[in-house]
Symmetry: C2
Subunit: 559 residues, 2 copies
Amino acid sequence: MTLSKRQQEMTKQNYVAETEQTLQYTIAEKVTQLFTPSSHSVSVESKMDLQVNTLVNDFLGEINTNTDVDLNALVSKFTDSKVPVEPYNFDSYVEYLANNVVAHSIRTSSPRFIGHMTSALPYFVRPLAKLMTAMNQNVVKMETAKVLSPYERQALAMMHRLIYNFSDDFYTQHIQNSQSTLGILVSGGTAANIIALWCARNASLGPKDGFAGVEKEGLAAALDYYGYKGAVVIGSDLMHYSFDKAADLLGIGMHGLIKVPTNCNNDVDLQALRQAVADCRAQKFHIIAIVGVAGTTDSGNVDPLVAIADIAQAANVHFHVDAAWGGPLIFSEQHRHKLAGIERADSVTIDGHKQLYLPMGIGMLFLREPQLAASIEKSASYTMRKGSFDLGKRALEGSRPGMALFLHAGLNLIGLKGYEFLIDEGIRKTQYMAARICAMPEFELLAEPEMNLLIYRYIPEPFRGLVAKNQLTEADNQQINQFNQRLQKIQRQAGRTFISRTTKTITCFGENISITALRAVLANPLTTQDDIDAVLNDQIQIASELSISNSLEAAENVA
Amino acid sequence: MTLSKRQQEMTKQNYVAETEQTLQYTIAEKVTQLFTPSSHSVSVESKMDLQVNTLVNDFLGEINTNTDVDLNALVSKFTDSKVPVEPYNFDSYVEYLANNVVAHSIRTSSPRFIGHMTSALPYFVRPLAKLMTAMNQNVVKMETAKVLSPYERQALAMMHRLIYNFSDDFYTQHIQNSQSTLGILVSGGTAANIIALWCARNASLGPKDGFAGVEKEGLAAALDYYGYKGAVVIGSDLMHYSFDKAADLLGIGMHGLIKVPTNCNNDVDLQALRQAVADCRAQKFHIIAIVGVAGTTDSGNVDPLVAIADIAQAANVHFHVDAAWGGPLIFSEQHRHKLAGIERADSVTIDGHKQLYLPMGIGMLFLREPQLAASIEKSASYTMRKGSFDLGKRALEGSRPGMALFLHAGLNLIGLKGYEFLIDEGIRKTQYMAARICAMPEFELLAEPEMNLLIYRYIPEPFRGLVAKNQLTEADNQQINQFNQRLQKIQRQAGRTFISRTTKTITCFGENISITALRAVLANPLTTQDDIDAVLNDQIQIASELSISNSLEAAENVA
């Protein structure tokens, strides 16, 4: 029997009789209707669908990056902390959303929003979002996911194979073996990086000769047992801030995150890295992992992964690659070589919600050794029983949604060649933008782009000669920094185009000179060369109205 | 200019000219169309919308909990680890999804799926899922979220107010103050519990007199500095397994998670808790937090929170309440008293994807003291700059989706009275089911339900007399355990109804007798008394075909 048939049989009278209580009738009816598949609810949902579709099409169809609404005025709309007593009227809430939320949301899909790692998404993610939410699977265990567990394992194995390219036999053996973990699907790259170091810590300070291991005995006891003075993770000073979180969380402390200097190319200085390893060894510090970055958050640079793999191998230390951003270069024949060495990593982070063009909330960790995640395995009597197929056994998170739907669909509906095209196009446009910046006297390129992130700055007219002669003083740089900060804030507030900003020490400029950089991310397939020109011209326009002296005031007026 | 207008102007010729490359034309065109708002893509998306709507309506309209597909046969469909080279055809993929994924997914919304903490959801979450995905905001920072940041803060403040009920002045001061954190929206209760203990650890072992605190110096140095032999978290032996993860992650080790015995009511034994606190103190173990459970995962029992709050206060220790399941009782006038004392907690976990009836992926942590999360604050030069409004500063996760849309909508569209109705109804039906179980000779109720979780077991006919006389031997119990395990597996495999199972030490049955319990969760608003009867009758039917001797074989045949 279907539920809609049931619903027809369940009259109002039956319902009231069944509850056997004096309920406030309208609330009971209203709330029950929200959940019940019936001709009434289907028609209400269809109406809401149409309203949402209109909102979505308007939102996605707009080229401006945001409204110019004042932030304080916007915030002041959200100061009531009382939950409404009665259910709000549906149409009113959708109207409220339209006017207050959707209208002022950031148009991350705009071809002129090229400042952060968000992009337009392929349209199939939208119907799939509805499907995923309607199915409401919980992937923590088979009993609430069943088919999604092997389906997710398959999608992760596909990515694993792109990275490691092991034999057919390897994948046949592990892809659906509940004792093996080729990949872990998580909410984002931060969780993936944390889990990588968690596995590395637990595996390297594991049970031995009656000692139960760091997992059970804790870090202080493990360091004591193994005879270490402390524990560290080593990587470049351009590691993502999620490693700060990981070092803190895992109990090694942020001072235990050794940040090795980078060179002019924003790559880790290999000599300094070798020295750091030797120093830690000499001082009896346990090295949990060495981290290589494949796509720095600032400027998209890739560490020399082969050399780092050699260092890690020689030291017998876990090698983790944070390829949250850069990992998908693996799809491109032309650019894959930039990741050479990634196949030697013990663990690799890749974000689905970045260059796989999937919705927010998809991080992935891949493991070279399918047993590594056993070091963090947990079980419980009511779920994730030992030996079960439950994916929650080896994970940081517990209950989680069926995000694998997006990953699996992306891999199939975009395909190897589709992703290759997207990666190649982003890098091609970045080269175009870099060439434009170099050709325009108003701008200075701050680093040769390695993939599709670009840092540059605006040079106010009085400083242009000095830039050409490489004669800027520190005071000059500070003035230029302030100018760029103001420029970026005004541009953001105006809402026509968007570029982000960051603060970088540009090693090649000399020691300890902190530079405010404008930062472009060229990932959106909708962005054309015309859009890139429009973004740069918008900056020139704003800059022309912003003299060095009046820029402070102007910037402060827009918060 | 709108993007659809742009699209009209962007002809195939222009596009090819622009790329200035010899691309495999069909791939370039296909992939670009996936992203481009145009009349073509809108029509393809609309078609997919309709296909998905049909899938969704069929899925939600079916009363059976699953198909009876063989798990091994199902798994064998997902063994290809190669990413398709060419983009897959759209219609084919939807058909593939329909036949292989949707068809065999667990119907968590079925009124007869009453074994896990999943339920039918209100229909408004489905269009909102599409809206959220289309907007693709990243709440880690204002620049990719803007309005969603204050909007999320408002929704969290509403929940905070329900728990703590501070003054209007308090909420006016903190609700939109970027220096204050009333709540943190995360992917689930596990992350919320981890963050709670992370904050408690960092705040209690913080910077002092030249020592930089555990965050920077690490756990071993902090224990050393403060003169502790180790660090512990104390709670009942029915704490959720996320606390095992937290103890492991945070470096205190799972042995540092002190699990105090529970009594007949599945509540922590207060005398034993006091003793554990005293013992830790005497042995110089630092107590990071004392945990109270508000809704055990097994059976929905609530610890005596007022008494635990007294103990924590006397010991000056952080008091965390894991109300992932039970928190929403706060909405019910009739049942709120069961949570008395929660308002004294320093931190409270509540899951949105449980009894707030929101999609998977919504956990929440609430903080009594709005500055507590400063103990885990991180920043980075490219985002989350100090002093900014960016929500990612005080969080475990980095990039994350705008799940606040669901929370805010739920609070408004269901409202205080709507949630009260849902909570009251679940508990009413649980009482009905408990009464039915008590009235039927085939079943034994294993604990008096406190909210809407129920544990019971089937008693095969030969043992019924002994149960009545309370004369079961350990061997008898083992036989009954095996019978119930098989019963649950066959029921699950048949896919008509669903009840989960757990293994419990029922203290009142005598020491160390491990009991396999059937576990019902009565949260689905669609579940009627008839459905409850159907579930119990299905079990009786299965049991009747399952003699004690043949049950082993039968169960093994269904894996």
